[in-house]
Structure formats: structure tokens, C-alpha cells
């Protein structure tokens, strides 16, 4: 465009040059009257011609510059999901969150007892609390708050091997809710409809690690109206409430970002996966773990040279992911896994093998454009499916993955950066505003049944 303008400026000078040559010719011709007429006609024609050339040149240059811009290789592409181009929205100013002050037995004591809670994949609840305490969206005046946050760490009761025990979690949650309902009036005002809780455990607020038991229990009755921020997401499942916000599992950002390799290292592995195929401890016969999908991957592709799959966890795991084109993210005991986060950070296209899964921030991130979804029954044809994806599609997916906003949205970065997972949670909450006026109950009206649920949950904690 700039060049076009410059050319326009230069055009008058060229016009004068042509006029000089024409005048010379006129002198050579030698007839006065004819000369005058000729000069007038020529000047007009000259004017037309030069104007035309101006316009044509300008248009041509515009086209050329546009084509040149398109031909420049784009390293990454903008991401816009079903809710629009919302990945880089700033939540500050769009909502206000009030953080309840609970006694330390609900949060800090758990951390002191076992600091492993800050590094395992359920650490989101601790980091969200930490973030909200110092965030500009926090307000100390509950009257102007849109959302209320209860910092209760239900996933911090760890076994010696590091996995959380969910058996006390329903009682802890009940105890926390009864605390806030007795000390502040805001819970009873809406029976929790403008409160949100972070429940990152395997099956969310069902508080069990076994799917059958979790379905039997269902979401804790007291949380029926509240918004849940959880890692579990599966369509038509009891443990995914309507209106929940699905977040990625916690992955330590510094650990991953310190292991980048130069981006010109050629991606030579076609499909990469490291993890269990058969969970021999809990499911020795097979068919139960991962609904048989992981075992099917192993049985069908264990001798396929394109598939670099194994249970051996190497020390170069992150580096290998950066040398792979596709990374398998099959379900395990629960459909979500940290492999999705790792794949996105390292630019490896995630191949998601989990029927009906709801991926994190699904309204802000168009996962169908970024990842490859394979139904569990199609696992035996996985090599056919993956090798028949056209190279243009693969390159486009890689461009979307290379978008820094995408990588930022999957991380719970310390300190919080714009566009990271904390902001996405707040954006999700902001998109649910303003609250429906029906959530505000009449004083004295009770909707929740405090005695609902298994008897063991009713014991005070």
C-alpha cells in the first residue's frame, strides 16, 4: 500500500517528462494551430492515460502486496471457538469474585501435612486459591461480588503413594458449605447458584475414583446449583453437571518449558505414546481399564514401526514429544489425562481416544480443528485414519497448536500470565453472567435437602 502511494507521488514527475518529449515533437512538426490543438488533445489524453496508469498501478501493487503477505509463511493461526474469539479476553473488570475466609483446617493445614498437593495433577485447586487471593478481580465487599469462591482442598488427602483418597471429601465439602451458610448469608440467598468450587478429582464432585461408584453417588447434592470447575468432562454423564467449566489437569509449567528443543529439529516420530496399556494391578483380565481401548492400541500396533508406543517412561519424554507428529491421548480410568496438556505445549497433535469426552475450555478452543478424534471402536483402524489425514490439515493443526495463546491457555502459570488457565476460568465465569434473577430465593425458601446422600457423608467433619 505504501509503495502504491509512493508511485502515485512519482507519477506526476513522469508525466512532466512525457510532456517535455511531446513538446519537442511539436516543435519538430512546426504548425502553430495544429500544434495548439494537438497539445490540448495530447494533454487531455495524457491526463487520461496517466490517471489510468496511476489507478492500474495502484491496484496492481495492492494485489501484489496482498499476495505477498499471504505467501509469507504463517507460523501460527488465530484460534476462535464456539463462543467466538474469546481466548485472549481479559476478565479483569468483567466480574468480581469474593473469596470466603475459611478456617485453615479446610485448606492450609492440608498443605502443611502433605506438600505433594502442590505438584500432583490435582494441584489446580491450590493454585486457583492462590491466584484469586491476589487477583484484581477479587473484591472484599461481598455485596458487589458476582461469584463466591470457597477455598476447600478436597483432593489433598494423599495416600503414601501420592494418589488422593476421596473418601472424606464429601464430608469436608459438606462441612465447608455448612460453615459458609452459617457465617454468611450469601449461600442461603441463592442456595449456591452464584458460588463456584474447584473439584479437580477423577470424577469431579462425585468424589470417587471408581466410575461405577462415582455414578452411583452422583454429584454431591449440596452442589446441585453451584458451578463446578473440574477436570472431568464426559457428555451425558452424571458427574458432569450442566454449566460446569472443564479445565486441564495441572502440569508444572517450569518443568515443561525448561525442556524445549530447537524447533528446527525434524519431527520424525509419527505416533508417540508412553503409558500403561494393561493396568495389571487393578484390572488383570483386561477390558475394564480404558474400556479396552489402550489394550486394543497395543495389540494392533505393537509391531508397527510408525507407532512409538511403550510402557517404559524415558527421561527424554518431553523431548520425544517434540519430535513426534501425533501423540495419543487415550482414556485411562477417567477420560482426561495430562497428555493433552503436554501435547499442546510441545506442538504434538493430540489424538483423543475417548468417546463423548468434553475437553477443557471447549467453548473457547475449537478442539475438532486442533486434535484428531478417534472413536474407541475405530481404534483398530488407527493407522489408516492417521495416515489418510491430508498434509494440509496436519500443517494447519500444527499452526493452530503453535499459537502461543493456545499454549498459555493450558497452563496454570506461576505467576499468572494473561491468557493462562486462570484467566480462562474467569472468562468462563464471566460468560455466565449476568445471573438469572430466578436463582435468588425468597428468604426462608429451602430448595436443597441437607440430608440427601449416603449416610456416611452426613457425619460432620
Amino acid at each position: 500500500m505504501v509503495v502504491g502511494f509512493l508511485l502515485l507521488l512519482l507519477m506526476p514527475s513522469s508525466r512532466s517528462a512525457t510532456s517535455i518529449s511531446v513538446v519537442d515533437r511539436n516543435v519538430v512538426v512546426g504548425e502553430m494551430g495544429d500544434m495548439l490543438q494537438l497539445r490540448k488533445r495530447r494533454r487531455r489524453r495524457r491526463g487520461h492515460v496517466s490517471l489510468l496508469t496511476c489507478v492500474v498501478g495502484f491496484l496492481f501493487l495492492c494485489q501484489v502486496s496482498r499476495l505477498a503477505a499471504a505467501a509469507v509463511l504463517h507460523r501460527h493461526q488465530r484460534i476462535s471457538g464456539s463462543a467466538g474469539d474469546v481466548l485472549e479476553d481479559n476478565p479483569v473488570g468483567r466480574l468480581k469474585v469474593f473469596v470466603y475466609e475459611l478456617p485453615s483446617k479446610y485448606n492450609k493445614d492440608w498443605l502443611e501435612k502433605d506438600p505433594r498437593c502442590l505438584t500432583h495433577m490435582f494441584a489446580a485447586e491450590e493454585f486457583v486459591h492462590d491466584f484469586l487471593l491476589t487477583s484484581p478481580v477479587r473484591t472484599h465487599n461481598p455485596k458487589e461480588a458476582d461469584w463466591f469462591y470457597t477455598p476447600v482442598y478436597t483432593t489433598c488427602d494423599l495416600m503414601p503413594n501420592g494418589l488422593p483418597l476421596p473418601f472424606k471429601s464429601p464430608r469436608i465439602m459438606r462441612s465447608a458449605i455448612s460453615y459458609i451458610s452459617t457465617h454468611w448469608p450469601y449461600w442461603n440467598r441463592t442456595e449456591g447458584a452464584d458460588h463456584f468450587f474447584v473439584v479437580p478429582h477423577d470424577f469431579g464432585a462425585c468424589f470417587h475414583y471408581q466410575e461405577e461408584k462415582a455414578i452411583e453417588r452422583g454429584v454431591l447434592p449440596l452442589l446441585k446449583h453451584a458451578t463446578l470447575v473440574q477436570t472431568f468432562g464426559q457428555n451425558h454423564h452424571v458427574c458432569l453437571k450442566e454449566g460446569s467449566i472443564v479445565v486441564p489437569p495441572y502440569a508444572p509449567p517450569e518443568k515443561m518449558q525448561s525442556r524445549f528443543i530447537p524447533p528446527n529439529t525434524p519431527r520424525s516420530i509419527f505416533v508417540y505414546f508412553r503409558g500403561l496399556f494393561y493396568d495389571v494391578g487393578n484390572d488383570p483380565e483386561g477390558g475394564y481399564y480404558a474400556r479396552g481401548a489402550r489394550a486394543a492400541v497395543w495389540e494392533n500396533f505393537k509391531d508397527n514401526p510408525l507407532f512409538d508406543i511403550s510402557t517404559q517412561h524415558p527421561s527424554t519424554y518431553y523431548e520425544d514429544m517434540q519430535r513426534a507428529i501425533f501423540c495419543l491421548c487415550p482414556l485411562g480410568w477417567a477420560p482426561w489425562s495430562p497428555r493433552l496438556v503436554e501435547g499442546v505445549i510441545f506442538g504434538c497433535i493430540p489424538v483423543i481416544i475417548a468417546d463423548d469426552i468434553v475437553l477443557p475450555f471447549a467453548d473457547a478452543i475449537p478442539w475438532e480443528k486442533i486434535g484428531v478424534f478417534v472413536a474407541e471402536k475405530d481404534v483398530p483402524n488407527l493407522d489408516k485414519i492417521l495416515s489418510s489425514i491430508s498434509p494440509e490439515q496436519v500443517l494447519e493443526k500444527q499452526r493452530l497448536l503453535a499459537n502461543p495463546a493456545m499454549k498459555q491457555a493450558m497452563l496454570f502459570s506461576q505467576p499468572a500470565l494473561p491468557g493462562d488457565a486462570f484467566h480462562q476460568i474467569l472468562n468462563g465465569l464471566a460468560r455466565k453472567l449476568p445471573h438469572d434473577p430466578h436463582i435468588y430465593l425468597e428468604p426462608g425458601q429451602m430448595v436443597l435437602n441437607w440430608t440427601e446422600g449416603p449416610v456416611g457423608d452426613l457425619k460432620p467433619w
Partner: protein
């Protein structure tokens, strides 16, 4: 398995409905139910007795077999658990779809309910519980798909190269010296594949000692380079190694003269055929302004093991004498043999690290580096092609002109380092020589080795002797009639073989033997 069998019972009942026997269906089922229960009790008794005889319960296996034959909709084989060993694979998915479609066309009414129910069941939720592990009938890679996947990988890598790779893409001019010998196939194949993979334009100048031959041309025809020049050099390659090195230096100068005459543009790389190049070497070479130097690693003890061992034993004796008894191989094993530029901490060139390999006997290939002959190799240096052009004005003053360095007056072999007037101006590549991108494999067959050049034996060996290691008694062997003699000798007759005369003599003798044989059969 019982659960699976149970879930499929409704479909079996409906299939009976479809056949239309509705009136006597109820009586049938009533009769069938009593007969079934009696039948089942009978079967269970049989299984019980069988178990007592055999010693373990096989009811589950029997149920599995029974249920598996009533599952027409299984398109993949299903393994139901670690204990069940047998895999049953039935039919093909496409056949199944066709059959279902036919049945739908025949009788839509009865089928619709069943189908919709299954559809609803599959759409609403995923079942919790034990699922079958689906394995396709031929769980091995399909070569067509593997090729497709490789095309995809190549396209992704090309895109990576375009986005993140080196922005400079000056063409590469590779100068190689070769001659026909046993190990030519080994070295030249590796080199031609490496050069075919270099992402920029490669002009490959191959100088062959002893003239252009078909064997070398056969290899070079497989190279996928931008331009290939196969030139012959008059003199044959001598047998001695020192002389070989000198001839190679002359041949490289000849190649550079070609570059000079044709005014080729690019970066000149001395890609010796016994070198192993990493592709990073070609990327690193792009950074050269005029002359660059980089490290080359030396591989191989370059000789026979016992000689090296004996040498090490000598060293050990010295060390024992001096009182140090530790590791016998300390001098040899883990010392990196790298030759190239060496820098100080700021990265300025301060000297050359010339490795002095253990000198071995003369007849084996020890490499050019002998103790008294401290020289850098030609592949250590990378040149801008303009450095050898005729227009002397363009070159910096620290590069000597062609006549000064390329044709030494005393007739000795030219050395590439002689092109420099000032060592300090050399650009040091590869992280100041610390990164080794180039390896010299010092492995050669003996000069009199008669291994065929292409490692392919087109004809029979000269002598065929029957093996006498069988336990059966000796019997006169009937030798099959000999094949007709070939029209022309296909074995190369250069002196480079070193034993060319002997070969031709052998052929003559063989033909004589052939003529005398036909009486036997």
C-alpha cells in the same frame, strides 16, 4: 461372558419374530423353555462329570464358544481376557453393513425398532464395565499406509525447514575423489544418500582416479543431486597410502580448477567418500564468508586389531616401568580423536588441534596423518567458491591467488591450508570446533583385495568343490553341464585392482578348462 450373552438374547428373540412364526411362537417358546431348562441341566451334569475327569472347570470356555457362534455382528476378533487364548474372527465390516442393509430393505418394520434402540443406546452414554478388546484380523502394518505416513512426515519436515530452518540457502559444491576398489560401494553409497538429502542445490564433482568407469557411474546414477559431474583423472591410484593422499590432493585441485573455470557459485565442500556427514554440517557450512574451518572426528583404529593391541602393550610396558599400573587402555579408549580448529574462551581461533594417531605399519591404511607430517585434512576446510575464481580483485587479501597455492613449484601435493595468508581470518564453524559434524571412517580393504566392486557376484566363483561333510559314503558327483561362456568379460580391467593381471589369467585358464570338460555329461 454371561452378561454379553444375556444382552444379546433380545436380538435373537426378535430375529425369530421376523421369520413370522408368531402364532406357534408362544407354544414353541414354552416348549423350548422346558426343553431348554432340561437340556441345560443335562449339559451341566455332563460338564460336572467332565470336570471331575479332566481336573479343571471348562464351563467358561464352553460358554465362550457357544456365545461366539451366535454373534454375527462381531466384525473384529475379541479377546475377552488374559485367560482366553483363542481368537475368533468372523467376517468383514463391509460385508456386515451390506447384510444389514439388505435385511433392512427386506423387512423395514421389524428392524427399525431394533436399530433405533441400538442407536439410542450408543448415543446416550458409554457403558461402564468390561469391554472387549478389539483386534483386527490382520494386526500388522499395511505398506501402503506406511508410505503415506512417510510422505506426511516428509511434508511436515519440509514445512519445519521452511519455517525454522536456515534462511541461507547457498548452493553446495561437493568435491569427491574416488577410485574403484572393494570398499568403494560402502563409502560411495553413504555419501550419495547424504548428498541427496541436503535441502539446497548440490553440485557434485566426482574425480575418479584412472578415468571414468562404469562401476562408479552405476553408483552415481542413483544420486539425486542438482548437478553431477563425473570427471576422470588420468593417473591410477597408487597402492601406497602416502602417495594416495598426494594424488587425492592433486585431484581436488583439479576439481577446484573446474569450479574456477566455470565460475560456479556456492560453497565448496570437500566431501571425501570415506567421510560421514551429518546434515547439520551442510547447514553450518552456509555460514561461511570466505574460508571456514571445522572439526573432523576420526573413527577406526585404521588397521588390524593386533597391531593396535601390540602398540598398546608397548605403551603399557612403559607405564609399568614408570610405576603406573592403572588402566591398560587408558591411552586409547575414551579419548576423542578430533582434528580441527581450537579457540580460546572468547571464541577466537588460536590454533589447530591436530591429532596424532598411533602410527601403524605402512601397508595398512593409517591415514595421511603421520607424526612427522602435521597437516590438516582437506575436509576440515570449507570454501566460498569465489575464493578460487579468476577475478583476484574480489577476494580479500588474506587469500592467496590460485597460482600461488594450487600449483606448488616443487611438485609436492598442494595443501588447502596454504590458501591462507593469515590463519586468524578463518571463520570457525560448529561452535568453535567443539561440535563434530563430520567423521572420517578410516577403514579400507587391502589394496590387493579382489572383492567385486559392486559387491555383486554375477558369475560363478572360479572353483566349485562339493562339500564333503555329509555322513553318506562318497559317490561320484555328477557335475551339471557348464553354462555357456559369457560373450564379453564384464570384470573391469583397470590396474586399480592391483591384481588385474592375475584375474585375466584366471579367466583364460577357466575358459580352457571349460573347453575340456563337455565329455563328462
Amino acid at each position: 461372558m454371561k452378561k454379553a450373552a444375556g444382552s444379546h438374547r433380545p436380538t435373537r428373540m426378535r430375529s425369530k419374530n421376523r421369520s413370522g412364526f408368531s402364532s406357534d411362537q408362544t407354544s414353541d417358546t414354552a416348549f423350548r423353555s422346558t426343553s431348554i431348562s432340561f437340556f441345560r441341566i443335562f449339559i451341566q451334569c455332563m460338564f460336572c462329570i467332565g470336570t471331575l475327569i479332566v481336573g479343571f472347570r471348562f464351563t467358561r470356555e464352553a460358554h465362550f464358544l457357544r456365545a461366539s457362534f451366535h454373534h454375527p455382528e462381531d466384525s473384529f476378533s475379541r479377546r475377552t481376557g488374559a485367560r482366553m487364548g483363542s481368537l475368533v474372527s468372523i467376517g468383514n465390516r463391509s460385508d456386515l453393513d451390506l447384510r444389514i442393509q439388505e435385511e433392512i430393505a427386506n423387512d423395514p418394520e421389524a428392524f427399525r425398532l431394533e436399530n433405533s434402540e441400538t442407536i439410542i443406546r450408543s448415543r446416550v452414554r458409554v457403558d461402564v464395565g468390561r469391554h472387549a478388546i478389539l483386534i483386527r484380523p490382520w494386526p500388522h502394518p499395511d505398506p501402503f499406509e506406511v508410505i503415506q505416513a512417510h510422505h506426511l512426515i516428509a511434508r511436515v519436515q519440509m514445512e519445519q525447514w521452511q519455517l525454522y530452518g536456515s534462511k541461507e540457502s547457498k548452493p553446495i559444491i561437493a568435491i569427491t575423489t574416488t577410485f574403484v576398489r572393494s570398499f568403494q560401494a560402502v563409502h560411495l553409497t553413504g555419501l550419495l544418500h547424504t548428498l541427496s538429502l541436503v535441502p539446497v542445490h548440490v553440485t557434485w564433482i566426482v574425480m575418479e582416479a584412472g578415468g571414468v568407469t562404469n562401476e562408479t557411474a552405476y553408483f552415481l546414477s542413483k544420486a539425486r543431486v542438482h548437478r553431477l559431474l563425473h570427471l576422470g583423472f588420468g593417473d591410477a591410484m597408487p597402492a601406497g597410502l602416502k602417495e594416495r593422499g598426494q594424488l587425492e590432493a592433486h585431484m581436488r585441485v583439479e576439481g577446484l580448477r573446474y569450479v574456477r573455470e566455470e565460475k560456479m557459485e556456492g560453497i565448496v565442500v570437500f566431501a571425501d567418500e570415506s567421510n560421514l556427514h551429518s546434515l547439520d554440517f551442510f547447514t553450518e557450512a552456509q555460514k561461511v564468508d570466505w574460508v571456514g574451518a571445522l572439526s573432523i572426528g576420526l573413527l577406526g583404529f585404521a588397521g588390524f586389531e593386533e597391531t593396535a593391541q601390540s602398540r598398546i602393550a608397548d605403551v603399557h610396558q612403559e607405564e609399568v616401568g614408570a610405576g603406573r599400573r592403572d588402566n591398560l587402555f587408558s591411552r586409547r579408549t575414551f579419548e576423542p580423536q578430533v582434528q580441527g580448529p581450537s579457540c580460546d574462551s572468547e571464541g577466537n581461533l588460536v590454533g589447530w588441534h591436530i591429532f596424532d594417531p598411533l602410527p601403524l605399519e605402512e601397508e595398512v591404511y593409517t591415514g595421511i596423518m603421520l607424526a612427522q607430517n602435521r597437516r590438516l585434512e582437506w575436509p576440515n576446510f570449507v570454501l566460498n567458491a569465489r575464493a578460487v575464481w579468476k577475478t583476484e580483485g574480489n577476494q580479500p587479501e588474506w587469500i592467496k591467488s590460485w597460482d600461488e597455492w594450487a600449483t606448488p613449484k616443487d611438485g609436492s601435493a598442494p595443501d588447502i591450508k596454504a590458501i591462507l595468508r593469515d590463519d586468524k581470518q578463518v571463520k570457525v564453524l560448529g561452535d568453535c570446533g567443539r561440535k563434530v559434524l563430520l567423521w572420517w571412517l578410516r577403514a579400507e580393504a587391502r589394496a590387493d583385495s579382489r572383492h567385486p566392486a559392486n559387491w555383486v557376484l554375477d558369475e560363478n566363483l572360479e572353483i566349485i568343490v562339493p562339500a564333503k561333510s555329509t555322513p553318506w559314503p562318497d559317490r561320484p558327483v555328477r557335475v551339471p553341464p557348464p553354462p555357456p561362456p559369457p560373450a564379453a568379460a564384464t570384470v573391469g580391467t583397470g590396474s586399480k585392482r592391483g591384481a588385474g593381471s592375475r584375474v585375466s589369467g584366471g579367466k583364460g585358464r577357466r575358459s580352457k578348462r571349460r573347453q575340456s570338460r563337455p565329455n563328462i555329461s
